[in-house]
Symmetry: D2
Subunit: 109 residues, 4 copies
């Protein structure tokens, strides 16, 4: 894959990480935090794996397909959970997670 | 500082990271998650900085005092928050955080 | 999987991370650093994924098999590279990486 | 500090992390890797602390000044090392590190 294409996925991973961290922060401030527990958990996982993959791509990791596949799985799960909640930060997060999952799947194949 | 002393602080950081992650997980399963929001937040921060410092010491970082000081501050804050809650996982976490903060302070000086 | 078994794999991941970081540090101090370039690269990757999985298990991640599989792949590759070099730190690292890869494979299946 | 200003420092941290990882990768491919050993070491440290602070800001960490100060110190040291080497990736990295150090110092004060 060309360097330009990595640049694009790195930006998407960065956006997904930021959006998940924002959603995590916002979920912890909601009135009904209990309802958001799984969302909080998946936001953290998704932010961490996106941060990991972003760094790994940047440093020339030889494990692109393996890491992209696990990142796709986690983004997909996080998007599915966020999608269930009406908060703007969750709906926005779902959208970015699904987009990131799609790009990671392409990278994995 | 001798290699043996690093070995000891690395074990303490590892224990603190594990205990904070366990407390984080347990807090998200509590009935009153809202009351635990700050604890969840600090558990994550404390686990992450302990994991960071543990790795940094292991790879021979030249920034031991700087990183140990910020780790001490975060462990202290996490211990202070955990201490407020009666759950066993919080009380245990407070104890481990305060111990880790003490060892980090020594490393920082 | 029982909590006791997680405790065992967490210790193995911790040992693997520490050993890889020590090998990374030692490789950077060798006379012939060029020969160690791939070892340095894989030591970092392996330390980082072990640190990731260790934290993820500790916080109750729902992605145990996916993460354990990628960790197994990276440990295996790092062990294979380290095995090629005669330095004590590389031979020791290879041994720990292969052991960790085995345990991760069990966790993944 | 306003959200807009965080957005700016997050972008700078992201650029610094990417540039350090690129420099790390390029240093490991140089003919004279031995001469680059300290650069490799500091590139990793700098990429990791920038990634840490970027995530911490994104999730609303209460430890902004403490983390920004240590990040400034590490960026400064990495820039100073990179500056010594004529490779384009090192000169570019030095420039980005110094810029990031300046912004982190402002955040710390």
């Amino acid at each position: 894959m060309s360097h330009e294409n990595y640049q694009s996925i790195i930006e998407t991973l960065h956006e997904c990480m930021s959006t998940c961290n924002h959603c995590y922060d916002a979920c912890l401030k909601e009135d009904n935090v209990k309802m958001m527990a799984q969302c909080i958990r998946l936001d953290r996982e998704c932010a961490d794996i996106c941060a990991y993959l972003e760094q790994a791509l940047g440093r020339g990791t030889p494990f692109v397909p393996e890491l992209a596949q696990v990142c796709a799985d986690i983004c997909e799960a996080c998007g599915t959970e966020c999608k269930k909640h009406d908060h703007d930060h969750c709906q926005k997060c779902a959208e970015v997670c699904f987009k990131c999952a799609e790009e990671c799947k392409k990278l994995a194949s």
